[in-house]
């Protein structure tokens, strides 16, 4: 039996800065996971990924990451995406620096 589809977001690294970005519903690359488009339909998710990958002059390495819906938007389900969302643990660098 094929695995049931779980919610996703499209994520990538920005070409110029290298930092983690997500695709929003209105086709922008946003820096915060909770502003990303939550993809609950598999066919739609595949399409959004193809569209994202075509934007190779903006981002690098787009892929679908697992998330779960939260009260304020998508939230990570795996620690890797959690670290990508925040930044490293040893310095308040990356996104966490800008978020605070």
């Amino acid at each position: 039996m094929p695995k049931a589809f779980t919610p996703k977001v499209v994520t990538a690294n920005a070409l110029l800065e290298g930092d983690v970005v997500y695709l929003s519903e209105d086709d922008r690359w946003v820096r915060r996971l909770n502003e990303a488009e939550l993809l609950t339909d598999e066919a739609h998710a595949d399409l959004r990924l193809i569209e994202a990958q075509a934007r190779h002059a903006e981002v690098v390495g787009a892929y679908l990451a697992d998330v779960k819906p939260g009260p304020n938007g998508p939230e990570p389900t795996h620690f890797r995406e959690d670290f990508r969302r925040t930044g490293p643990s040893n310095h308040a660098h990356g996104k966490q620096a800008e978020a605070s």
């Binding site: 690294n13 070409l15 110029l16 800065e17 290298g18 930092d19 983690v20 190779h56 002059a57 690098v60 390495g61 389900t77 795996h78 620690f79 890797r80 670290f83 990508r84 930044g87 490293p88 643990s89 040893n90 310095h91 660098h93 990356g94 996104k95």
Partner: protein, 555 residues
């Protein structure tokens, strides 16, 4: 120190110019990432979890003060004010912007540095004993040999598309401080009947399928070095597996074909290649040796050292722990710890880099070394200057007296930076260091090497740690597997797995139980953790780890 020739300088400048144009073309959309990626990797530029990462080679770990100062400038101007020194005698900048990288490379070229061959399937940065040219136990300085190998291997046309990366280390002492036997090929300078030559090891490596290198030639005459190395790499280039990247390293080739078959093939190839080396390589070697001539060592009184040693217990603790014997009486080798308790192993801020540069220039014959243990070395300091050096180090958070101790941990970047990681390494190292500092047990425990990697690639050398820690992802949870009894010296050994891994919150208590067991069971205060482990074996440590009721099964 080696100084670039006009050819070297022109070569690096041309390479940077090319890369600048390639970056431009990537940014304006004329190159796709698939086209650009091999070009950026050829120039040491990775894309990591949160940013790009630029890896810069520090050949055989040797730096001058002005080179170190330039690294500080680069860290301030284009990064976040610090750099990360690695187990391969590289420095990594964690936050460059793509557009700035060509400028960073030009700034490096100003001080004769570059990022060429710090990535990709080529011969990587040649590493060496960080006490080179200074150690009391040295037969000869390994750096001229390493520099000769560097010149031969840089852009060598036959070796730009090897089956996989290839790492070479060189040591000039019987005591191995370069982890020779964890390298694809290693060169140990030896002396036989008054003649200097080389013992050649092959097929070592960590990562997936770790292996200890085997002796390929017990004694190779000096003049045969390059043709012989060329034969080794050439045999592997033909034989190495390209069907499976995990089986491509020479350690697998040696394993699959056997050392005697490899030796036969290498000797055959060597016989063909040898005549092509007319001796010009040895003429070059002589000029390189001259570049590494020892500094003018002064003969001075070291009473200031003795006085400080007697009067100041903080200085004494630092001197006892961080100094090593120099070959010249009155001199010492000082290791500067980049492992202040709770700090990120291997990180140095730009101001610390400047302090180190100043110290090298004022007191250290303008020489610095980066050790594979992620520390900095002042290889030639007069003992009389050490109290003053220590005072300056203290003022900049660089005087931690923990070299070779439990908090002197090697840790790879792990999942805080690395795109390949399966768990974090840095915070585990930070927590262990902070915990044992709080317990005030560090000096009681004595010599102990903990090494941590954030995935199976083993960049943190965990297999050869007395205590090795490997971070893994077990069903979406960070889990840490422990190995015991690894050894990175001339008695190289791979650690043994204790059993199931521990969760992120369990790993420090687990290490504490291991240390408690050692302190209970060691023969006397002189017996190190490794010696105790070798004497009593795994069983007592295993029961300390797993019999505890507090442990939650993590696998």
């Amino acid at each position: 120190m080696y100084r670039y020739t006009d050819f070297d300088a022109a070569f690096v400048a041309e390479r940077n110019r090319q890369f600048r144009a390639q970056v431009e073309r990537r940014i304006n959309g004329s190159l796709t990432e698939d086209e650009f990626k091999p070009l950026r990797l050829m120039n040491g530029l990775y894309l990591q979890l949160h940013a790009y990462m630029l890896r810069v080679a520090i050949p055989y770990g040797t730096l001058s003060g002005s080179q170190m100062r330039q690294l500080a400038y680069i860290a301030d101007r284009w990064d976040k004010g610090y750099g990360h020194f690695t187990t391969r005698q590289n420095i990594q900048f964690n936050w460059p912007k793509l557009r700035d990288v060509p400028d960073m490379l030009d700034a490096l070229a100003e001080v004769q540095m570059h990022a060429i061959q710090t990535s990709g399937n080529t011969i990587r940065n040649v590493t060496a004993d960080h006490f080179a040219g200074a150690a009391a136990d040295e037969i000869a300085d390994p750096r001229p040999v390493a520099e000769l190998i560097r010149q031969w291997s840089t852009d060598h046309p036959e070796f730009q598309f090897l089956p996989r990366k290839f790492k070479i280390a060189v040591s000039g002492s019987e005591n191995d401080r370069a982890v020779l036997r964890a390298h694809d090929v290693a060169v140990q300078i030896v002396e036989q009947d008054g003649e200097i030559g080389y013992r050649i090891f092959v097929g070592g490596g960590l990562g997936r399928t770790p292996m200890i290198g085997k002796v390929l030639r017990d004694f190779l005459p000096e003049a045969d070095l390059l043709p012989y190395l060329e034969a080794v790499v050439s045999v592997w280039n033909l034989l190495g597996r390209r069907d499976n990247k995990y089986k491509a390293r020479i350690k697998i080739t040696v394993h699959e074909h056997g050392i005697s078959e490899i030796s036969r093939l290498v000797e055959d190839r060597f016989a063909v290649l040898r005549p092509a080396f007319s001796g010009i390589d040895q003429a070059l070697f002589d000029t390189i040796k001259a570049d590494f001539a020892a500094p003018d060592f002064a003969h001075r009184d070291s009473a200031d050292f003795d006085r400080a040693y007697d009067r100041d217990p903080v200085f004494r603790a630092w001197a006892d722990t961080n100094l090593s014997d120099h070959r010249i009486p009155g001199y010492a080798i000082a290791q500067i710890s980049l492992k202040a308790h709770g700090a990120t192993p291997g990180d140095a801020t730009s101001s610390q880099m400047r302090v180190l540069a100043d110290l090298a220039e004022r007191y250290g014959h303008d020489e610095l070394r980066i050790s594979h243990e992620q520390n900095v070395v002042l290889p030639h300091v007069h003992k009389a200057d050490l109290p003053q050096i220590h005072t300056i180090l203290k003022a900049h958070g660089l005087a931690t007296a923990n070299i070779g101790k439990i908090s002197d941990i090697i840790a790879c970047p792990g999942m805080d930076y690395c795109a390949l990681a399966t768990a974090r390494s840095i915070p585990v190292a930070q927590k262990i260091a902070t915990r044992f500092d709080a317990l005030k047990l560090e000096h009681e425990i004595g010599d102990l090497k903990i090494k941590i990697s954030g995935c199976i690639n083993a960049c943190g050398h965990h297999h050869v740690g007395h205590i090795g820690i490997l971070g893994l992802d077990r069903a979406g949870v960070e889990t840490y597997q422990i190995t015991l009894g690894g050894d990175a010296t001339q008695d190289a050994a791979l650690g043994d797995r204790t059993g199931p891994g521990f969760g992120y919150d369990e790993i420090v208590p687990a290490i504490e139980r291991l240390i408690g067991t050692y302190l209970d069971l060691r023969g006397d205060a002189q017996e190190t953790f490794l010696q105790t482990y070798r004497r009593i074996g795994m069983a007592p440590f295993k029961s300390a780890l797993y019999d505890s009721e507090t442990r939650v099964a993590a696998e």
